[in-house]
Amino acid sequence: MELQLFDYSLEQVQWGERTRLDGKTLSLCMDDLQELLKDLSPGVHVDFQIARPGEAKRIVHVLDAVMPIAKTGGLGSTFPGFEGAAELVGTGKTVRFKNLLVTVTGRFPHFDSLTPIEKPREGIVDMSGIGAPYSYGSERFHLVLSLTPESSVSNVAFDQTLRIMALRCARFLAPAERSGAEAEKRLISLPPVNSALPKVVLIYQVQSQLTCARTFYYGEEVSKTLPTFVHPAEFFDGAIVSGNYKSERKIPTALHCDNPFIAELLARHGESINFLGVILSRGYNDSFEQKKKMGLWVARLARNLGAEGAVALMEGTGNGTVDFMQTLKACEDEGIKTAAVLHESNGPKGYERPLVDHPKEAAGMISRGNVSEKIYIPPLETVIGGAEIDLHLKATHDPHLPFLFDPTIFFASYSQMGRSGFRAEYEN
């Protein structure tokens, strides 16, 4: 199985008369975008804006960010299972914009009628300043779709609409008409390598619980699946799509299809490791017994694939940590060494225990930093996506004023903190 990837890097994104790529400049035509989403927009007003890296801009109420990817050859379409039959992906040709995101913002139309666990959490993206290294996508261009639903739109419909809008834009933009643009070509595959290299899998645990806190695999909620093997190439074609609005801890759709852990293990394949592929599993199972079983199944699958080691990551926090720890324990019990990545909650004053659950078998941990530490967040000149910041249902804040808050206010901050090289360490 191999996928040919054609990556285009952008130096400028601007509004224009036609949607097209000239060299490294992408022009976006507002009429094209409006036409594209027309049938989806009754009852949902869409406002389009552009945000660029380094600008003094703050995007609020971010729900998801999607990378523009589209198939230009081979079977199926990107984001299988959404707007089309779910054909297997990960082969043929895929074109993408490496540093552009289609970013959706908005508030659900009937927010108060959502149960506490369904309520989306605030997620902001600061394009520059102190917040930038905490904000997923701060180093990329954004086409922002700010959505305002009318009250005739149900919460369920809004959830579906915002997802389809973002995915459709992503599929539309990636193959835009182009001239003078050079793609960087890559082959995503796992060719046989020196059998003496250590065999390694990536354990990829996602959050999937209910509407507004779920993840899709080929359009199907992961909560309805057992752990499964996924080829890295399937990720690049958007086989995993996020429907999770637990903002700070979510893995955005763009991060599923452009995941640095997958890229890192692919880069080391044949050099220092024999990368066997990815095991996709579900966190947030409802009972301890289920969590334990999920761990055992993941470990059994890894063992049958021949893994000697596993890099492991998880989406979520608290509850999902228990599933994750059971998985690490089960792997270690099977003799599979693990290196697992997590954020710490050491409290604003730094002396709380770092993790809610930490069995002794989880002996190889990588930290993403203390996510409950207070940081001083200065304002940015322009605010996109809404007039206020929701301080996680406790209060609201004027985004034009400075505030003191923890990194949970930033969109996909748990992943981004890791990517920015943050970790926690003892002070004094």
Binding site: T115, P116, I117, K119, P133, P198, V200, Q209, L210, P260, F261, E264, L265, S272, Y284, D286, E308, G309, A310, V311, G318, N319, K337, T338, A339, A340, V341, E344, N346, G347, P348, K349, Y351, E352, R353, P354, H358, A362, A363, G364, I366, S367, G369, S372, E373, K374, Y376, H392, L404, G418, R419, S420, G421, F422, R423, A424, E425, Y426, E427, N428
Partner: protein, 349 residues
């Protein structure tokens, strides 16, 4: 020219003893007491020295108001440096010094220095980057402590980072707390490196320390089960429909008790779960599945237990800090111990 603002309690500000502990926030545009000693030690730099005085009782009883008043002073005076203490072993003053310094450092990002003995409970309230000079247990170490304040200030004024760090290592309390730092490698690179080190048997560092869970002894039932009054307790966030007391759905800061008197079970539509940590749909459909009153009533009528306590206790155990949960747990336990309850069924989610 440096501007120094020094926070003193009523005693060190010379206002009075315990009888003046209710003193509200007072701004004095001059040094007071030990402040005069420090001003004198710093005078070669040209120093504008002012004082905030606040009674210990006032601070603890009206913390928010006290901080607001101090904030107004800081905005007005615009200090370059903030001092508090020394508190030595004085617990209430130590906690106040720690809280005020942390709050000033976080919000105004100016150096904040306090001083206390290592056993002062204020050491649990120290925020990031706050300097905590080590002192003796009593004011007998005052002279040496004041010298350390001025030595540290000298180094801060000289912007000599290395001298500051050397000073911190030698004279400040080492309070192990974990904060975020930035490394030069992202998590995915460090994770792959760590795995390879483990696979090849090299030495490695697990970046997150494992803290052993405290073991709790389970007490024996002191009466026979048939004579026991049993209370229901949960962290699952179950409240009467409409959430009359505004229990938080995450980061719970309080607990509540609600009557089950005269109820044979908890009915759908009369209770709901306030909790962002688990899927509450099942509980909302049948609240007994979280707080099993229906099953307890069967045991009660079958005389397997004497009685179900008339109220159940509830908080929300998600997103909160363990220390907060320990505090709430202790509060619930104290109430239960005082209410003639013999046993508890604790349902967690």
């Amino acid at each position: 020219m440096i501007k120094v603002l020094h926070y003193l309690n009523q005693f060190f500000a010379g206002i009075g003893g315990e009888e003046k502990a209710g003193q509200d926030v007072l701004f004095l545009s001059e040094p007071v007491g030990i402040g005069s000693v420090l001003e004198n030690a710093l005078k070669t730099h040209g120093v504008e020295y002012a004082t905030i005085a606040c009674g210990d009782n006032y601070f603890h009883e009206a913390e928010e108001n006290a901080l607001r008043a101090m904030g107004a002073v800081i905005d007005q005076f615009q200090p370059d440096l903030f001092l508090a203490g020394p508190a030595f072993s004085a617990g209430r003053y130590g906690i106040a010094c720690a809280k005020v310094c942390s709050w000033v450092r976080d919000n105004w990002r100016i150096p904040a220095i306090t001083a206390m003995h290592e056993d002062n409970p204020g050491t649990r309230e120290i925020g990031r980057h706050v300097f905590v000079l080590q002192t003796g247990a009593s004011a007998a170490s005052m002279q040496e402590t004041l010298k350390r304040y001025s030595l540290l200030i000298e180094r801060l004024v000289a912007r000599d980072q290395k001298a500051v760090e050397d000073f911190r290592a030698e004279y400040c309390l080492a309070i192990p707390r974990r904060f975020t730092i930035r490394t030069d490698k992202p998590d995915y690179v460090r994770a792959a490196d760590l795995l390879l080190a483990r696979l090849s048997g090299q030495s490695y560092e697990s970046e997150i320390p494992r803290i052993e869970t405290q073991a709790h002894t389970v007490p024996n039932l002191t009466v026979s089960l048939a004579d026991a009054t049993v209370a229901l307790v949960t962290e699952g966030g179950l409240v009467p429909k409409g959430n009359p007391d505004r229990l938080e759905s995450s980061r719970g800061s309080r607990y509540f008790k609600y009557s089950v008197q005269g109820r044979s079970d908890l009915k759908h539509g009369e209770f709901e779960a306030m909790h962002t940590g688990y899927d509450t749909a099942t509980v909302d459909r049948d609240p007994d599945r979280l707080v099993p009153l229906d099953a307890m009533r069967v045991l009660e009528s079958g005389q397997r237990i004497k009685k179900v306590h008339d109220q159940y206790f509830v908080t929300t155990g998600t997103g909160a800090m363990p220390s907060k949960m320990a505090e709430l747990g202790a509060g619930i336990a104290a109430e239960i111990a005082g209410a003639g309850i013999d046993a508890v069924i604790l349902t967690a989610t």
